[in-house]
């Protein structure tokens, strides 16, 4: 039996019919075709599927779709401005070499955004902790940490 859920997605109100057992990730990627959010494990262990729910970074692969009712969800597609301007964090990732294969990148950027929204001037330790649930196999994290630092200094 499908159920209706209503929530805000990247600033717009939406209402959809979904099978209640689906995860937020499945709905975003398959029903809404927003493929910027990645699935790296489907088990809450890699952070590739990170999105913001009411400003908090969560693993969308574990997040039951019905729980977003009435909440506000931000995916990577919601970060860029209407005129195509990149979010300062996105720009900083580009400029600091924080992106290699890019599979972890959307999740990384969103975890970083959740951090900076709460602590605009984080310590390096706070940065490391905030993205410690986001695995990256390419970069060794060094340039990602630098990118977040640089964005926080702007």
């Amino acid at each position: 039996m499908k159920q209706t859920v209503q929530f805000k997605l990247n600033g717009e109100s939406i209402q959809i019919e979904v099978e209640p057992h689906l995860s937020l990730l499945q709905v975003i990627r398959e029903k809404l075709e927003l493929t910027g959010t990645k699935e790296g494990c489907g088990m809450g262990e890699c952070g590739a599927c990170t999105v913001l729910v009411d400003g908090k970074a969560i693993n969308s692969c574990l997040f039951p779709i019905l729980e977003v009712e009435g909440k506000s969800v931000t995916t990577i597609e919601g970060l860029i401005e209407a005129d195509g301007t990149l979010h300062p964090l996105q720009r900083s990732f580009v400029e600091n070499g924080a992106v290699q294969c890019g599979f972890c990148t959307p999740g990384m950027v969103l975890s970083a955004k959740a951090l900076l929204d709460q602590h605009p001037k984080p310590t390096e330790k706070q940065i490391r902790l905030a993205i410690s649930g986001n695995l990256c196999r390419c970069t060794g994290y060094i340039q990602i940490i630098r990118a977040i630092q640089a964005a926080s200094e702007q």
């Binding site: 990645k38 088990m43 290699q100 890019g102 599979f103 990148t105 695995l135 060794g140 060094i142």
Partner: protein, 765 residues
Amino acid sequence: MTEFINVGKRIPKSDAQEKVTGKAIYIQDLKIPGMLWGKILYSHHPHARILNIDTSEAEKLPGVKAVLTGYNIPTIKFGFYKDNTPLKSNKVCSYRDEVAAVAAIDPDIAEEAINLIKVEYELLPPVFDPEEAMKEGAPLIHEDHLGGKEKKPTNILNIPWKLVAGDVEEGRKNSDYVAENRFKVTWVTHCCMGTSGCIAQFDPRDNLTIYSNTQIPSLAQRDFTEALSAMGLQGKKVRLIKATIGGAFGSKLDTYPYEYIAILLAHRTRKPVKIIFSREEEFFATSPRQAAIIDIAQGCKKDGTLTFRDVRMVLDNGAYTSWGATTPSVMMMPISSLYKVPHVRYVAKCVYTNNTYSQAFRGYGNPQATFAIESQIDSLAEMAGIDPLDFRLRNANTPGEVTPQRFKVGTCGLRECIDAVAQRLDWRQNRGKRDGRGVGMASLIHVGGGARVYKSDGCGTIIKVDDFGTVNVITGATDMGQGADTVIAQIVAEELGVRIQDVVVTHTDTDICPWDVGAHASRTTFVAGNSAKMAAKKVKEQLLEVASRSLGEVPENLEIRDRMVFSKIDPEKKSPLGKVLRAAHYTTGGKMVMAEYFYDPPNENLDKEFKGNLSVTYAYGTHGVEVEVDKTTGQVNILKYIAAHDVGRAVNPMLLEGQVYGGAAMGIGYALMEQLVLNNGKVINPDFRDYKILTASDIPTIEAITIETDDPFGPFGAKGIGEPGLVPTAPAIANAIYDAIGVRIKDLPITPEKILAALKGKDSK
């Protein structure tokens, strides 16, 4: 020194904007109308005869479009040793053996159908230890595999890796000190964040299009063309299109059962079929770095001069053969040529077992061999009473040397690397205290100017310039995240004198792109870079030729900069580049500005004795580490990490540092925590909870030092850097641990448990 405009600059990756905005399309994101989902049933046993496969229930499930087994498909043999098949009939030889496959209208139905297939097995005795598998009477993995002089059934592969140079016995006799040890390295896996996957699709004429993640588009195209022939589709075409690759690191240097299965399912159903691995499959059904047992002896004189190096290895090949079995060809490189050593012997055997089969993984055998060599160098230095730093400097390679394997050492910044590391670690001050803190170092040699593994080491480039001055570079190279596209664009922009943003690189489609041997051996910047540079040179000649007509100036006096062509002697004579091109096109007898170049470096295949100048130039580096070891918990804390590399020239220092950081991070994982645990052939830690890779909280600060030796063969002096970053990491850390607490761990990973056990052993002595 020449002033470069694009080369040497920290230019962001050309696809970084797509990636930070979530717009890059990976194989996971691709959909084709009418597409079906494929799923694979794997073996439930490490070694068993298949008695019966009952697929009737699965076939009846609504939504299922095809069910395949080894019994209803044509025979396709593939792999380096042609011992693998897409679906196994007769018997299974490992837990990852593919027994059946399903195509269905959605992934859930495909999964359900897989669970409805019933397979009856008769268990066979398995063998998991390669040394056991070598013994007479051991269970045979492939009964029809014959070897040895008598051509008897055997688990030992007929690939006799043997390198002999000089006389090791003589070397041993002349040694004042000899160290002899056994080292062990185990399976580790690539952990690409984007799992494996593909989509196969046939057109009405039976030509195949396959969307793939491969690092070897041209060679994969050949593999799939052979498969089509085996399917009775001789003469049909294969087009391979790459999606954005979510990490590769060597894992995509071969073609795999799942790709052939997707092809077979697509052909059976006449519909596009997609297979995407779950993370669990990615852990147990892809091929890790090979496990090996390494017996090594090295000797030296009183003054520390190396006298010989003698290495024997047994490699666990697993049940089938991929490129893992050829890693000894690369292991020979550090064994013969890391430091000056006059007498060398290396013998390796690859042995079938009922374990998972192995593949290439960043470094291609070099990290395993270097772990043994460089750990033992420290032991030998200690025996001789020489500081390991001085020991290394005494034996360091130098330009102009020809190594026992007949490598011609050209530019070589090894000494500079060693010195840089020693200085940053304050070596003399910090070494030898045994107070729980210690320093260690280890060096590397790797191919830096391509590697002639195949008959060709070539890469093609096509460059064309459009009406508005946009330069389209169509390359055979593969960008898998490392930044090949960006580096190629920089090289072309530099050579042509155009702006980097006017260069567009295409690398994704075998119908369009020229041939290339693949993204392996850290060869892309060097080989694809040289290819692109030389194609750009030809294009520039054409451009200046065309411009000389409209400007009335000889080509030699013309230059291109900032979208303008101008005369170097008469500033009045200038024209926008776009205008020059339009003039070339809109003329009677007009001309298109376009050029191709196929660059195949002047390196050599190894001869029958495995000797020859494999690469045009070699990359060197030294890593240095300062650690603190907690003697009560066995925890290793890295306080300082220095990675110095001779890179020839850093075409893009930011991307280059990314390769070094990423490589070192993988290397730290290899040294301290990563291990694919196989229990009687079964991977028991197929997830990130139990297979730990470094997180942002674990990673130490890494300082990357680049030594530029400006290699005469490299594009603008550059050498390869893709793999070197993780080659010396494990021994550098092992050496630092020894310096800190006086125990030497000889099998990877160096876990706290092993450290505690070793400390205990030491105390009780």
